[in-house]
């Protein structure tokens, strides 16, 4: 029987610390807040003359990307380097899997090279889970995006952005707009916002791009963008994921932009000090107008900067949790022997 991650805390060690980072499902508000606080400290490191701390010196981080990525891959690489770890980045589409090697074999080989952490991106939902559970339980596994399921570091960098620009989650209205159906970012964001106590999470999109069962996330659904944007503090736009679309989910991009594109006029419906976010890459004129993406309310590039700090926090905390778990297990083994 496969249990959901909420019921099986695979990503926590025996004393409740992170040892993998697979999904935000089942993580407590305290843990998410600790992660954001740690990321705040790493953000300060990024502003120094020497942007590097010696925390993960001598450790090896493998970025294993089975799917294309620019921002996530480079910011994970930079995060690991700023923690003084050695980094290997593998674009698996150009390596041994194209010669027929299985996922499991590729990872076991990397493990044999004494990797301490894997950052994995894969087109299949649950890939990172599978690796953490069956392939490399002693290596910290970090989900860099798996299929439509989750993108937890993006979720947390969005939370850091909101906290730094808007403060207390418990007073905010947040709208997530666009292609929710294909978006792992939307799932991670809804979970994080709910856990952090955001009282008004709105999801805006056409029926064809909203998944069934959205209610379980405690969100309100809007099909009319003008209605959904009214008086929100935060607008999170999503990219229209044309590469994942099969069949006629949309009449045309022009039609989508007319109904759900974030324009200056629509932005005026939100609170005057509302912020605009986007996980990137942005499609100008498809989901967002250039004047909004580059305008004073946009924090899209700040998100990238915060992403490095959040990924540093995730790498440091999961490594710390793995270390603690090994310590616990060796103490336990010593007790058994006595």
């Amino acid at each position: 029987m496969t249990l959901t991650d909420a019921k099986r805390p695979l990503q926590l060690n025996d004393i409740g610390q992170l040892r993998h980072f697979l999904s935000l499902d089942g993580l407590s508000r305290e843990l998410l807040t600790e992660l954001l606080d740690t990321a705040d400290s790493f953000l300060e490191v990024g502003a120094r003359a020497v942007k590097k701390v010696p925390l993960l010196r001598g450790m090896t981080v493998c970025n294993v990307f089975f799917e294309n990525s620019t921002r996530t891959r480079t910011t994970f690489e930079l995060a690991a380097k700023r923690l003084s770890a050695d980094v290997i980045t593998l674009n698996v589409s150009t390596s041994s899997t194209s010669k027929g090697e299985t996922l499991t074999d590729t990872l076991r080989n990397l493990e044999a090279m004494a990797a301490d952490m894997f950052v994995v991106r894969h087109a299949d939902s649950g890939a990172a889970h599978f690796i953490a559970e069956y392939v490399c339980p002693g290596v910290a596994v970090i989900n860099g995006g798996d299929g439509r399921h989750a993108h937890p570091t993006q979720g947390m960098l969005d939370m850091l952005t909101i906290r730094r620009h808007k403060g207390d989650f418990q007073k905010l209205s947040v709208a997530i707009v666009g292609d929710i159906l294909h978006s792992r970012v939307a799932r991670s964001n809804m979970l994080a916002l709910k856990t952090l106590g955001c009282p008004d999470i709105r999801v805006i999109g056409p029926k064809t791009l909203l998944p069934v069962g959205l209610e379980q996330y405690g969100v309100s659904v809007y099909h009319d963008m003008n209605e959904g944007l009214r008086d929100v503090d935060v607008v999170i736009m999503l990219r229209l994921q044309r590469e994942r679309m099969q069949g006629g989910l949309l009449p045309s991009e022009g039609e989508f932009y007319r109904l759900y594109g974030l324009t200056t006029q629509r932005m005026a419906l939100a609170k005057p000090d509302a912020i605009v976010m986007h996980p990137g890459p942005i499609n100008r004129g498809v989901e967002i107008e250039s004047a909004v993406a580059d305008g004073p309310q946009s924090v899209i590039l700040n998100q990238v900067t915060y992403g490095i700090a959040v990924r540093m926090a995730v790498l440091a905390m999961t490594m710390s949790g793995q270390t603690a778990q090994r310590q616990l297990e060796s103490e336990h083994a010593a007790k058994e022997q006595n």
Partner: protein
């Protein structure tokens, strides 16, 4: 043995620091406290010297040498240095000097901000248990404790000291 009262040690420490700085020709140094106890001592010391300039705060969690044994401190907060370190004379302040490892971590962190002209080390207590070649330039009091005993600083106002006994190792 009764622990000294920090409030009584501070005027002497302030005077000793003044003569140390004068002897080394240092004027207008910047003050930095190591979180948490060191910050309290630094604040009290600045008050005793009638100074109210900005105090630097160091959190050395990312520079500790025990990450592989103890992991990351769960309540790490950002360091704040409201001045340039490059070319600056610094006074680094901690509450209790024991092994010297915290000061080692603090020095490494400081050098990531720049190359200071000098660093003067001030500690409220020296427990005579150093494991590294690090000595304070100014110290409030020196104590020798049995291995299972520690001292904790209470604060920030008023400052106080209390004994702590370590739990015996579990096994």
């Amino acid at each position: 043995m009764t622990l000294p009262n920090p409030e009584k040690l501070l005027p002497e420490m302030a005077a000793a620091l003044d003569s140390h700085l004068a002897a080394h020709g240092i004027s207008d140094p910047c003050f930095i406290g190591i979180r948490t106890g060191g910050v309290w001592v630094a604040q009290a010391l600045l008050k005793a010297r009638d100074q109210n300039e900005a105090l630097g705060i160091l959190d050395v969690s990312f520079y500790r040498d025990d990450f592989t044994q103890n992991g990351l401190h769960p309540q790490v907060r950002p360091s704040q240095l409201p001045f340039e370190v490059e070319g600056q004379h610094l006074v680094l302040i901690d509450d209790v000097l024991m092994s010297g490892r915290t000061v080692r971590a603090a020095l490494n962190e400081l050098f990531d901000y720049g190359r200071p002209a000098s660093v003067t080390l001030v500690c409220l207590l020296d427990l005579n248990a150093r494991e590294l070649p690090i000595r304070p330039d100014v110290v409030g009091a020196t104590l020798s404790l049995p291995p299972e005993q520690r001292v904790k600083l209470l604060g920030p106002e008023p400052l106080g000291l209390e004994y702590q006994t370590l739990a015996p190792a579990a096994n």
